[in-house]
């Protein structure tokens, strides 16, 4: 329970940081950046599945397994998207897309986050060995965590609608919010 909650909050923090960079610097996320955000959101659905199942009062090994499976599959897709973007900018002299944060570009951080997510899910799966239909109760933190995550997804959704306007896809190198065009 604690591990799943910490996992969701870590992903919320990563997504909120990316959103903060977008708002602070005015750098709009490119299509691949948005794909990475979506993959990280889908990663959070895994530990959220575990948390939401625990509301019934107990947690089965099956719930943990499904949650970790969701997170691992989503993290693999996220890693594919971020690796693709890392490879696009790997040549010497390439400045990369957007500004670097703490020495690395956001897509590199995204690749690291996806690798960490896979490792965290694997550790949670190992932990099932000691799980004995745990009695969990219904901690209020579950409701708060789900609400915070939903709010973040809605904020990202509104942002991407503003960025794409009425177009089906985003431009490869977006510079302005097309809805205000």
């Amino acid at each position: 329970m604690l591990a799943a909650t910490a996992n969701v909050w870590m992903l919320i923090r990563v997504l909120a940081a990316a959103f903060a960079v977008q708002l602070n610097t005015g750098e709009l996320p490119c299509p691949l950046c948005v794909m990475q955000r979506i993959a990280l959101m889908m990663c959070a659905l895994g530990p959220l599945h575990i948390l939401m199942r625990s509301r019934a009062g107990s947690l089965a090994a099956q719930d943990v397994a499904v949650g970790c499976g969701i997170a691992i599959v989503a993290a693999l897709v996220g890693a594919a998207a971020s690796s693709r973007q890392v490879l696009l900018h790997i040549l010497p002299g390439d400045q990369g897309y957007g500004s670097a944060e703490l020495g690395l570009h956001l897509y590199t951080w995204s690749l690291i986050a996806c690798a960490c997510q896979i490792a965290a899910s694997a550790i949670m799966l190992l932990d099932v060995a000691w799980l004995r239909t745990e009695r969990t109760g219904y901690p209020p933190a579950v409701k708060f965590t789900v609400f915070a995550f939903a709010l973040l997804v809605i904020a990202n959704l509104l942002s991407v609608v503003a960025e794409a306007g009425w177009y089906w896809d985003l431009p490869a190198d977006p510079v302005k919010y097309l809805i205000f065009k």
Binding site: L45, L48, M52, V73, A81, L157, A172
Partner: protein
């Protein structure tokens, strides 16, 4: 718009999970397959792979 649809689908999966609805995992699978397909058809840059 396609990205907004993906995010709406994530929200829908969350709602299904909250309501303990059986469609939660199938919705997740559908969304991840669509996201992966969109990624595979990446049109941001012309990509030519040579092995």
């Amino acid at each position: 718009m396609i990205y907004a649809i993906f995010m709406a689908s994530v929200l829908l999966t969350l709602v299904a999970g909250w309501r303990r609805h059986a469609s939660e995992v199938p919705l997740f699978i559908l969304t991840i397959v669509l996201v992966a397909a969109h990624l595979a058809a990446d049109k941001t840059t012309a990509l030519t792979l040579s092995f």
